[in-house]
Subunit: 307 residues, 2 copies
């Protein structure tokens, strides 16, 4: 079978990852490149809401990327990529995270910007390519942008995100605050999940020196729904940490309205995490005032602490 | 001493690296960012010709980047970066090579494109930032572009390089072919060098798996000047390979007019290089028809062969 070109986001896909894969595959197609959107895992309820709202089919699941050609969106490290990525050819990267461990033999297009969402960068790529964005694509891109920036409230939000959100909302014909509230309500639908589903629903794995570290995040307007099940949640975290040989499993329970997080922790080397986050865990729990962004406020200090 | 922000290219700087550092520092300054151009080694004669021609001071030498903030241009791997780069903070990358081993804790601007020169990308960045390019800066950018693409003849040259070269030549007020010929003559001034200077004047180091591999290139219209000194050149290569513990030291002697290269080799694992380049070395020498680009035609197959 000849290899195909897939536009694909990270494992445990979120709305920015799925919408970015869809929107970038469309741009590539408009430029005459035969690219297909793909996903590396199950679509979460918020993303399903977005796909239904904008009448768009989910990208198809890619089980094994070995031998394929990949355009990575919204991630640039192998630990977060679709399985088989090590044996695939990475032909492009568009992302807004730290620079990870992707290396290539050939020069490729690699565009990473410190903005609030990958959708923000893709909107610029449409403009640079002089391709118009239709209302449906604008709706998808806006959803990725608003989801990743918690409706422009996250500290990762830049002026560029704000002005691009306005532009996309115009094309899509929605009101940012009103549509954003609908999205936030979807993010909060966590009460129906099992503790294991809860801790893994927005989950990323990092390699800090030789340590595997898992960091999950639950963004919600009702943190008490999670924290009331503390013991069951911690047991689920313990199970995952043991199965996957994690040095640390950290879960951020982020209150979207108060803009703060409660962290739960499992694993060993808790003191390293305490150093990194400048906090103290009492009974595996710590309060992190002002912390909303895993990427900007948690990953960099933890990486430093482990190094 | 507080850390400063330096825009800096690779070791053994060439014209694209020096001119890119100068032009990007100017763009940053025009955007209100206090960035200084820097270099990681001696300016070669071609680049000195360019600096004189466009009445521009050489960037200052940065001996040790530890503790500094760096914008890397024209490279994105530590083995090619200024010494101390591992202990510096990389805040941006603009490049046109394979993706290397730079990792960061924070999200940064990272722009790599598969085009003929870093100067090509920087010209676009000026346009995207809506900043005008003055004649002097256009002359520097054009020099980087023409030097890296061997006056648009290298197989790395894209349509984008050609159209941007036209645009820059207009602003700078020079004729591409005529100015290009002057540049090529500078590249060819190699007869005056010692064998050791010759093999190290345009030199890059790569890490393929656990192997340190050095690849030098002499681009010239008179390859016989180098090849007549074969034994002295091979002795210099042997010395360097031993001092620096290289598995392989490969030197490409590239005939700019015939668009072909003769490769000389020192070190061990010559069979791996033969596999990678699909050639046979006889008395440490092999003919490589059509090979002009280290980056595109030599590095990728060698990396594959060593992996």
């Amino acid at each position: 079978m000849p290899s195909s070109l897939h536009v694909i986001g990270h494992q445990q896909p979120d709305t920015d990852t799925i919408c970015s894969a869809l929107a970038y595959a469309r741009l590539k197609q408009a430029q005459g490149v035969d690219a297909t959107p793909a996903r590396a895992g199950e679509v979460n309820p918020e993303t399903q809401f977005v796909l239904d709202r904008w009448d768009t089919e989910s990208p198809s699941l890619l089980d094994d990327a070995a031998g394929e050609q990949l355009i990575l969106v919204d991630h640039n490290e192998y630990s977060q990529a679709v399985s088989g990525a090590h044996d695939a050819t990475i032909v492009e990267v568009v992302d807004h995270h730290r620079i990870g461990d992707i290396e290539t033999s050939d020069p490729i297009y690699f565009r990473n910007e410190p903005v609030g969402s990958t959708a923000t960068i893709l909107t610029q790529l449409y403009e640079e390519a002089n391709k118009t964005i239709d209302a449906q694509t604008a709706g998808l891109l806006l959803s990725g942008l608003l989801s990743d920036t918690v409706v422009l409230r996250s500290p990762t939000t830049t002026d560029q995100d704000r002005s691009i959100a306005d532009h996309l909302a115009d094309i899509a014909g929605v009101d940012i605050e009103k549509y954003g509230k609908e999205l936030l309500q979807q993010k909060s639908k966590i009460g129906e999940k099992s503790p294991r589903e809860m801790v893994l629903s927005d989950f990323k794995e990092f390699e800090f020196e030789s340590h595997q570290v898992g960091i999950g995040q639950v963004e919600t307007v009702e943190p008490e729904v999670v924290l009331e099940q503390r013991e069951a949640v911690l047991a689920a975290m313990d199970d995952v940490a043991t199965e996957r040989n994690y040095t640390v499993f950290l879960l951020l329970v982020t209150d979207l309205l108060k803009e703060e997080s409660t962290a739960l922790i499992a694993g060993t080397q808790i003191d390293t995490v305490e150093d990194g986050l400048d906090t103290t865990f009492t009974e595996q729990e710590a309060f992190l005032p002002g912390v909303m962004s895993r990427k900007k406020q948690v990953v960099p200090p933890l990486e430093d602490a482990f190094n």
